[in-house]
């Protein structure tokens, strides 16, 4: 009989045992990171040693690591091992300032391939599949990361790489490709190419699509599934953690299992940096537990998500992350107060009178910042008083949350501008911004 999991013991490990494994691996990771010029002085200062780690809760003793830390230590300042042990380097583009560099030992590459193979297996991919990878094979981890994992899985892997849609079209048909790895927008574009060539993508052999590296909605996923007549699974990776293979949707397609044998997961309030109540929205903060060349502690991913409650029917015990809801670095500073669009969204969602779109406009009036929140009404009313009360109540509740009173403007459908099907949340028209 075919096995249900790639690594049953790890994937279905009881939570208590999983936490024990996390503690063990955190100790080991601290030991490794004592070799890092970046972390060693921090550990000394805070009295962090492998022996002093007793529970997952000890993670709170560590400082946060940010993308800025990666930039300021560019290229090798965080490395925990001698560079001679490093066999690969990946890097993200440096559109603002230095790029960031992530180093891998042979073991890191091996564990990464295994985690991504495990992820692929969870979507139903098998060694009988033919996987075409449309990611760039360069510094981007979506190329080699997927290649190694698909090979580990034992599937026939087609390293088609990015672009050249007509060639992708030909390969899919000639080789009988059964699975594609691509970014969601490319899945849609490629479907259009098929139609231009007079072939319905539904008639191809493609049955599974692994999509990621680009934020997308549930509606987009369903659209891809309809276009291709296949299943599409949301895959989360980030180069700082390794690359693809950090979390993935199983066949239940309800949240991404994050591999907790490899990461300690925290969901924190992006303002206070304290944990949010279980199940609430916050910033995903990750600590690597299975990396050597460049372990990172409490890395602020800036992605906003929540832990989905309850157990997954698939039997995996690793908790599930909700599809990402935005970025915590969308933070605005208004009159000296830190505000996230998500705080405003959270309040607005409590009003059944409102639809889901809103727009925050920031302007300079005199010497002051002024905030206007346009909210979309869900239905009309004949009662001015009702609208007026609604407006006042929204302003009041927002003030409780963000500590300043915005102007609230009620608008009808279709007024709030959209970009790429995603609502624009903030328009900053302030001088000096």
């Amino acid at each position: 009989m075919e096995r249900k999991y790639w690594e049953e013991e790890i994937e279905t490990m009881p939570r208590r045992q999983l936490e024990k494994l996390q503690v063990e691996r955190l100790r080991k990771t601290v030991e490794i990171a004592m070799g890092s010029k970046f972390y060693a002085p921090i550990f000394r200062e805070r009295g962090i040693t492998p022996e002093s780690i007793n529970s997952v809760e000890d993670i709170k003793r560590f400082p946060f690591t940010t993308k800025n830390d990666l930039r300021s230590t560019y290229p090798f300042g965080i490395a925990s091992v001698p560079l001679q042990k490093v066999i690969r380097l990946h890097s993200s583009s440096g559109t603002t300032g230095n790029p960031t560099v992530i180093l891998h030992t042979r073991r890191d590459i091996d564990e990464w391939a295994d985690a991504m193979a495990r992820s692929m297996y969870a979507t139903g991919l098998r060694d009988t599949d033919i996987i075409q990878n449309t990611s760039g094979y360069g510094m981007f981890t979506g190329g080699l990361g997927i290649q190694y994992a698909a090979e580990r899985l034992g599937a026939m892997t087609v390293p088609a790489a990015a672009g050249n849609s007509l060639r992708q079209f030909k390969f899919i048909q000639d080789f009988g490709t059964t699975a594609l790895h691509c970014i969601p927008s490319y899945a849609t574009r490629l479907a259009a190419v098929f139609k231009e060539q007079g072939v319905d993508p539904r008639d191809t052999t493609v049955r599974i699509m692994i999509i990621g590296a680009e934020p997308h909605s549930e509606a987009q996923r369903q659209r891809i599934e309809e276009l291709w007549g296949c299943k599409a699974y949301n895959n989360f990776g980030m180069s700082e953690m390794c690359g693809p293979g950090v979390a993935i949707e199983c066949q239940e397609q309800n949240g991404m299992h994050i591999w907790e044998d490899n990461y300690i997961v925290e969901i924190l309030d992006p303002v206070t940096l304290e944990p949010v109540p279980e199940g609430e929205l916050g910033e995903l903060v990750l600590t690597t537990l299975n990396r050597e060349a460049m372990p990172l502690f409490r890395y602020r991913t800036r992605d906003l998500t929540r832990i989905l409650p309850g157990e997954c029917p698939c039997g995996r015990t690793h908790r599930r992350l909700q599809r990402f809801q935005g970025r915590s670095d969308d933070m605005m500073i208004v009159k000296g107060v830190n505000i996230f669009p998500i705080q405003i969204e959270k309040i607005l969602m409590q009003f059944p009178e409102l639809a889901s779109d809103f727009l925050i406009t920031l302007e300079t009036v005199g010497d002051n910042d002024e905030m206007t929140v346009q909210v979309e009404l869900a239905k009309a009313t004949d009662d001015f008083q009702l609208l007026d009360n609604l407006r006042r109540e929204i302003a009041r509740r927002l003030k409780d949350e963000i500590l300043l009173t915005p102007k609230v403007q009620l608008v009808g459908k279709g007024v709030i501008p959209q970009s790429d099907g995603k609502a624009v949340r903030v328009k900053d028209l302030r001088q000096n911004h």
Partner: protein, 138 residues
């Protein structure tokens, strides 16, 4: 029920928002019997009595206009201010609180569209006073 249906439409204070609604109605040959616009700085409510309220509400919803349907009294009186005054007096003297009203002329008579605070009470008073109530054109 001695009432008629009224459409209340949320209107943004933006150029073109009224035009969009009117052309949608005209495209479907729906006639407007009466209209009234009440507004604040940011938005308004357009109240409409049309030749086919059900169809009008559906087609406006379809193009993304926010429409509410509710009931109002339509009182047909002689088209002069004395009759207007007498009618309002009999309503208010009998304790009917009027939230808003607007008027239009039809077949040489004046029609008052009245939205009372308490519809049940207003209907009772209107019947007792022998008002001529229009019960819809649909």
């Amino acid at each position: 029920m001695k009432t008629i249906k009224q459409l209340s439409i949320f209107l943004e204070n933006r150029q073109g928002s009224l035009k969009r609604i009117l052309s949608a109605l005209s495209d479907q040959n729906i006639e407007i019997q009466a209209a009234s616009v009440a507004d604040t700085n940011d938005y308004g409510i357009l109240r409409l009595i049309t030749s086919n309220q059900t169809k009008a509400a559906a087609l406006l919803s379809d193009i993304g206009v926010l429409v509410n349907v509710n009931e109002v009294l339509a009182i047909s009186i002689e088209d002069n201010v004395a009759a207007f005054s007498a009618t309002i007096s009999s309503l208010t003297d009998n304790g009917v609180v009027i939230n808003y009203l607007y008027t239009f002329s039809k077949d040489g008579r004046l029609v008052l569209i009245v939205r009372p605070a308490d519809m049940e009470k207003a209907e009772l008073v209107a019947s007792a006073q022998g008002f001529q109530l229009i019960q819809g054109w649909e």
